[in-house]
């Protein structure tokens, strides 16, 4: 069953076609990876999905619903969470606050209730906190609860970003280069977590990744892009063997 479908989507910046008529679909419970050389339009596709960019043409469907026109802040509420290539955490807040922002799409209380901090708000806060603690447990982040993000090392921040996305209890998580800037050990951890996200939490993963070892280890299917166009798609080994993909990477 298709959870998420991209149907002939294009994105044009002036004369440059960043994404050119790309179509693919992600099944429920799958780990789907988009690969491609730099500037192939991978992150642009993510930005289209999280509605930061408006597509020039084409449509996006999530759980059979057309989400091409949904405003960006509602995407999270639908059940799509994401991370960023160059970490976009809230630097001057604690990790706990960051993760609680991840719960924002589940906020039920009104502002006037919060001003008075009515019992309902307190109850909701405790529920959010319980959910956040589950994620902290899942990703082993216990040591950093009250630490400011600004003082944490890169590898930890990368994990916290995944944690923040998980806090919104998504059905589909978009990971933008989860291993970039991580050392070999951290990349290993990341690959285990990605698989756990799928198997333990039942969340479908769509990711952009350069590290082919990681891609081979976790992905069910791979889509290769170059210059905004689809080169090939299929299992990791199929795609890697595809002549166009080899040409794109080796410049033949």
């Amino acid at each position: 069953m298709n959870l998420f479908t991209v149907d002939g989507i294009s994105l044009q910046f002036g004369g440059l076609k960043a994404v050119d008529n790309v179509s693919f679909s992600v099944s429920k419970g799958e780990i789907f990876t988009i690969i491609g050389p730099n500037g192939a339009g991978k992150t642009s596709i993510f930005n289209l999905i999280s509605r930061l960019y408006d597509p020039t043409s084409g449509k996006l469907f999530f759980e059979g619903r057309d989400i091409t026109e949904v405003p960006p802040h509602q995407v999270a509420r639908l059940g799509i969470a994401r991370t960023f290539q160059n970490i976009e955490l809230f630097e001057n807040a604690t990790m706990l606050a960051n993760l609680l922002v991840g719960r924002h799409c589940h906020a039920t209380t009104q502002m006037w209730q919060e001003m008075l901090f009515l019992p309902s708000v307190r109850r909701a806060e405790k529920d959010h906190r319980r959910k956040v603690e589950e994620v902290i447990e899942f990703l082993d982040l216990q040591a950093y609860r009250d630490k400011l993000i600004a003082g944490l090392p890169y590898g930890v921040r990368k994990v916290i970003e995944v944690a923040r996305a998980l806090c919104s209890e998504p059905k589909l998580i978009l990971l933008d280069e989860p291993s970039s800037g991580l050392n070999v050990e951290e990349t290993d951890d990341m690959s285990f977590w990605i698989r756990d996200i799928r198997s333990e939490l039942g969340i479908t993963v769509l990711m952009v990744e350069h590290d082919m070892t990681l891609v081979n280890r976790v992905s069910d299917r791979v889509l290769a892009l170059n210059y905004g166009k689809v080169l090939a798609s299929g299992t990791p080994s199929e795609v890697q063997a595809h002549p166009d993909v080899i040409a794109a990477y080796l410049g033949a």
Binding site: S50, L52, P71, P72, H73, Q74, V75, A76, R77, A81, R82, F84, E88, L89, F90, E91, N92, A93, L96, A97, L100, V101, G102, R103, H104, C105, A107, T109, M111, E114, M115, L116, F117, V121, R122, E125, K126, H128, R129, R130, R164, S168
Partner: protein
């Protein structure tokens, strides 16, 4: 050093985290309640101004400190609150009605200002708020049927459900204290709930906030509206304290004073607003005292070190002449702003935290703990 063992999520939600807080804030409250009976009328009146500035400081803290939207137009919000009070009072509306009305009206205006702010960042927003403040100032000067123009407007004594509350009375002091405490609680409550976290998220990364489900437009407008509404309440109190309001009281310079409150206090916590307000209001009497005492003191020190009597008198004259020069206050204000930004970027509250940490870690405190990392200009144009 105190170690707090957490066994309950409530411990993180609570405002007063542990018994130490109860003690210190309890004592503070007791002192503030006792103050009007112990202090002279001058100091009591200064404290009232501290409260009013602190209320505006908290408002600005919500907008600038937490949401990251700078404003140099808060004097205009104060003016709208003050004039609403003056106008409605003169038409026989009671305080319990016009006080909230002023807050709501100012909040609505604040929300309207928030809308253009949606597309503006940084310096453009600062300039837009300045422009807004100028327009309000001009409207106040021209809309004579309501505001009496440049002649200004008298504000009668506050009448709280039949009981008069004159500007110098202890009851007025308590009213201002009550509003301040209420405002602080409101701000702290917001901060520990989703709205406050959304504000902080907008400050730190709009993009991430958006994809976490925060409606940027709605929350920026909310932040402006809350901040303006609180400032409007302060405006009502201000009008009653001054008993006379005119457009030239609400200029850009007042807006700058309000920003100074949070910069001097430290723009990252509600404490900062209060400390900044104390500093800003008390600097004036402090300087006046200095102006009178320093020349005499300097002269007597100089003569005790063997300076000839007439030379010492000359020194005293020179110093008091400098002290009473017309523009001195402006120069000192300017110096204070520059000094704080250069040497104490986290403000008084930051200094307080450093001192506290020094004693907690004694003798292991390292100076470099709070050293700022060198950062480099990177264009905001592609941000």
């Amino acid at each position: 050093m105190r170690f707090v063992f957490k066994t309950d999520y409530d411990q993180d939600i609570r405002i007063l985290k542990h018994s130490g807080y109860w003690w210190s804030y309890g004592v503070l409250l007791a002192v503030l309640v006792a103050a009007p009976f112990l202090l002279g009328s001058y100091l009591q009146s200064q404290l009232v101004f501290v409260f009013i500035y602190a209320i505006v400081g908290v408002a600005l803290m919500i907008l600038t400190g937490f949401t990251g939207q700078a404003s140099l137009g808060h004097a205009a919000f104060l003016a709208i609150g003050a004039y609403t009070a003056g106008f409605l009072q003169s038409h026989g509306v009671p305080f319990i009605v016009y006080f909230p009305t002023a807050a709501v009206l100012t909040g609505v205006v604040g929300a309207l200002v928030g809308f253009p702010a949606l597309r503006l960042t940084g310096i453009y927003l600062v300039i837009a708020t300045i422009a807004f403040a100028f327009i309000v100032e001009e409207v106040l000067a021209r809309w004579e049927s309501v505001t009496h123009g440049n002649e200004g407007m008298r504000v009668r004594t506050l009448d709280l459900v039949g009981v008069p509350v004159p500007r110098d009375s202890a009851s007025f002091y308590f009213l201002c204290l009550l509003v301040l405490v209420g405002t602080v609680l409101l701000a702290l409550n917001l901060l520990r709930s989703p709205t406050g976290r959304a504000f902080v998220a907008i400050r730190d990364s709009e993009t991430a906030g958006k994809s976490m489900g925060i409606d940027l437009a709605a929350y920026k407008v909310k932040s402006f509206a809350i901040s303006a509404a609180i400032t409007g309440m302060a405006g009502v109190l201000f009008a009653h304290k001054m008993t006379f309001i005119s457009p030239e009281m609400f200029t850009l310079l007042l807006s700058i004073e309000f920003i100074m409150v949070i910069i001097i206090g430290g723009a990252f916590g509600v404490h900062g607003a209060i400390l900044g307000a104390i500093f800003m209001v008390m600097i004036d009497p402090f300087l006046t005292a200095l102006k009178d005492d320093v020349p005499v003191l300097a002269a007597s020190v100089a003569s005790s070190f063997g300076m000839a009597q007439d030379a010492a008198t000359l020194l005293q004259d020179k110093l008091s002449k400098i002290g009473s020069a017309a523009g001195l206050k402006g120069a000192i204000y300017g110096l204070i702003i520059m000094m704080f930004i250069l040497f104490e970027p986290y403000g008084l509250y930051g200094r307080w935290l450093k001192v506290k940490l020094f004693f907690q870690l004694f003798p292991l405190y390292k100076r470099a703990t709070f050293k700022r990392q060198k950062t480099y200009v990177k264009s905001e144009r592609n941000r």
